[in-house]
Symmetry: C2
Subunit: 472 residues, 2 copies
């Protein structure tokens, strides 16, 4: 597996690490295999934990949305109409009222919000759900990155005031940052340009993770919806004093399929996956290395190592398959991204120790059995710190200033993200797209960057510093 040839490498990793089987015979739909499902589970729990700590309650809305609700908010409709799946028949009957598969759940949830919200005492309302969503992508699909069915978590909130909604946007950003940080994924956090915001939003923020092939991967988005939906779905509350007002809303989504793609792509290497311990289905694999005549003591000692780790609550697996050589086992578990390997050979038996090997650096260290739990935990945090740091450094290395359209073209060709000055006009965006294939992803959120020269395309006065990349 050569990560330099990213596209093939990625497909090979998906297959070898049992993440996905891409042979399902419908374009854009794949089968998640056991390793993939387990990673998704840990990611989902992580996200749900963060959201529920901030008072979001779990809900589960239907996958179908009736046509009339879907058509209510005109901007939203315009944005999604071209890419929804339509259910038109049930059994042998034409449905009198057609249904779409949710591409996102605003139009499913908000009519019900109107029932749930009566007075200011019902606010804020914060809900979330982890579900599959459906988009009839017309662009090329790509496993995990761009599929017609993918797994995400979406949160939706309603507030009394614009100030509270703004505050929730900031909280959502902090939650998503913590989640990405827990798996060491680095990203550009940008405010999307006006022409590329979520259909129906006042403004949109996005987390664009870098990718080895240069095409950024939008893993999460946060939107301030203002009163755009509450006016259409008539979500009002009675404020103190009896006045009826529209709620102010936000929503945000984090793609679990895409986050898994980012983890694979940013941390993986020529040996395969490198998994953050928190989402690794197996955190430590114990591999006995028997020598002729010493099979039994090695086996027994391996079991002790296994039990010690298991009893400490670490997800550990002991690979006792007898027909496979240790070298092959190393190879297999490295491909699966298991963070730490615990080798047990005759020398480890002799000194009541175990040899630990880190997945990220392959550093080996022999430690006494009595210390193994602590040492493994330390290795987990060292590994995590290292891959997180490595990922951020890589993002910095990949982000370059560009001062002409040719610069941008060259940058993108080298899989870079280009930082440019922009006048703010659509014509210039279109020209960049046409000449380079790159998209204006937006300007940094939270950090104010001053234009340092004229617009990269037209040379007139620049208003903003924006980032350009090809994108999934």
């Amino acid at each position: 597996m050569e990560k330099d040839r990213f596209s093939e490498w990625f497909d090979e990793v998906l297959f070898k690490a049992r993440i996905l089987d891409t042979r399902y015979p419908v374009k854009g739909f794949s089968v998640y295999r056991d390793w993939g499902v387990r990673i998704l589970r840990y990611l989902a729990r992580m996200v749900e934990e963060e959201l529920e700590r901030d008072g979001h309650i779990p809900v589960l809305f239907p996958v179908v949305i009736p046509e009339d609700l879907f058509r209510k908010e005109s901007e939203h409709l315009k944005g999604f109409e071209g890419e929804v799946f339509w259910i038109t028949r049930g059994g042998k009957t034409e449905l009198p009222r057609k249904l779409i598969l949710r591409p996102t759940s605003e139009t499913a949830m908000y009519p019900i919000f109107a029932y749930w919200i009566r007075s200011h005492a019902d606010l804020p309302l914060k809900v979330h759900q982890t579900v599959t969503i459906y988009r009839y992508e017309t662009k090329a699909t790509r496993p995990l990155y761009r599929m017609r069915e993918f797994v995400w978590n979406e949160a939706h909130t309603a507030h009394r005031t614009w100030e509270e909604a703004e505050e929730q946007v900031r909280k959502a950003v902090e939650m998503y940052k913590r989640i990405l940080d827990r798996v060491g994924v680095s990203y550009l956090l940008v405010k999307r340009p006006e022409f590329d915001k979520f259909a129906g939003a006042v403004y949109s923020l996005a987390f664009d993770a870098w990718n080895p092939d240069g095409k950024v991967n939008q893993v999460g988005t946060v939107h301030n919806l203002g009163e755009n939906f509450s006016r259409v779905f008539e979500i009002t509350y009675e404020d103190v004093g009896g006045v009826h007002r529209y709620v102010v809303q936000t929503c945000y989504g984090i793609g679990l399929s895409r986050l898994m793609a980012a983890i694979i792509a940013q941390h993986g290497d020529d040996h395969g996956l490198v998994l953050p311990p928190e989402v690794a289905p197996v955190q430590v694999v114990v591999v006995p290395i028997p020598y002729k005549g010493l099979e039994e003591p090695v086996k027994e000692h391996s079991r002790r190592v296994y039990e010690t780790l298991r009893d400490a609550g670490i997800r550990v697996y002991i690979d006792e398959e007898e027909k496979t050589r240790p070298g092959e086992k190393f190879y297999r578990w490295e491909a699966m991204g298991v963070p730490v390997r615990a080798e047990v050979g005759p020398k480890d038996v002799e000194s009541d120790a175990v040899t630990l090997v880190r997945r990220d650096t392959f550093e080996r260290v022999q430690v006494p059995l009595g210390d193994v739990v602590d040492r493994v935990r330390t290795l987990f945090s060292e590994l995590m710190e290292n891959i997180r740091k490595r990922s951020w450094e890589e993002l910095r290395r990949r982000t370059v200033n560009a001062e002409s359209v040719e610069d941008v073209a060259r940058g993108l060709k080298e899989a870079k993200i280009c930082r440019v000055c922009w006048c703010g006009r659509l014509e210039c965006v279109e020209r960049i797209k046409e000449k380079t294939g790159g998209e204006v992803r937006g300007m940094l959120y939270e950090v104010e960057e001053r234009a340092w020269r004229p617009c990269v395309v037209c040379g007139s006065e620049a208003k903003q510093v924006v980032y350009i990349a090809r994108a999934y």
Copy 2:
């Protein structure tokens, strides 16, 4: 809430305990609210834990199945054709190849099984997934019991021989029994009559839970599929010696929505839900009972109770809302089914104790704070034992022998399940259905019952003892 008027009681419980909001504007689709979602989560984990302990690996297959695959197995097609949702359009394009929403996943999974299974070393293959499924029900829908979208877990296995498949059927039955036992749900375990087996199966077993209104609720089914699907989907393996053989398959599903309905319906009472501790989102609620001038000590002591339970890993909530009276809080948490209430009043403060109240019997007992964790755990198992026993007794009480069609009619009218002798002919089944509304659910599995008189309908020689009930 009067449980005697079951239908209204059930709707009220769903609403008051925040299980479901039935106002979603598409027939057969409802919104799961926080309490419902949380219970579903614990149920799902319980099921997944049992299955994974038996070596089932988690997978996640697409929700869409292309028409050509769906049409492959003719019996299966016949059984489901009338009740699937059809996706015929993507964006503004008619799909050249129509898709159905999975009503169950055989025809999605088995073409992929054909890739996964090559040799006997790949067997047995056992997978499972917790997903939503879709059926365009033409009968009346009913929240949780019969919906067009519901949550279930389905497992699918492939084996070398018929013996191994039979053995897996037995294991599946044991697993489902353990799951139902863990939540105290009682059931008839029957072999479905030939005319009512799963479309494509060799035979089907089913767990029919009793319901207060007399209509049994099929919570789980286990099917031996034999080679019916493997021949159609060409799932073969190379056996030792190089011979190619068809795999022998089983599949089984447990409805999590329906299991939740059974828990609510079998255990609930006039106060609302009674939840098995293992699936209760909150297992203990601490309610401070402040007296004038003693607010602070009561509050502090309540917190100590809360922290003691929390630190022991019990899911505990402290209800410190100041505007609500303790009585109202009792009422609310009883409706939610929280297994144990911990009241803290001035007398508890004085004696460093806490008063525990069981949800099922409302028995009160004051216990020293130092014993609270143990005592709560004991109460959990006593409550569990009690509601499980109560439920089985109720099932026995509801199962009566019937010796004529009039007997059956009377029995069903009284919400009973009727045990009858049957000649085995379809005409008699149809006559019962027509005269009483009852369905032949099948004969007991594992227990051999001898016919003790002639057929309940036609009076000719009876071949089997079967159970008749109305059904959801």
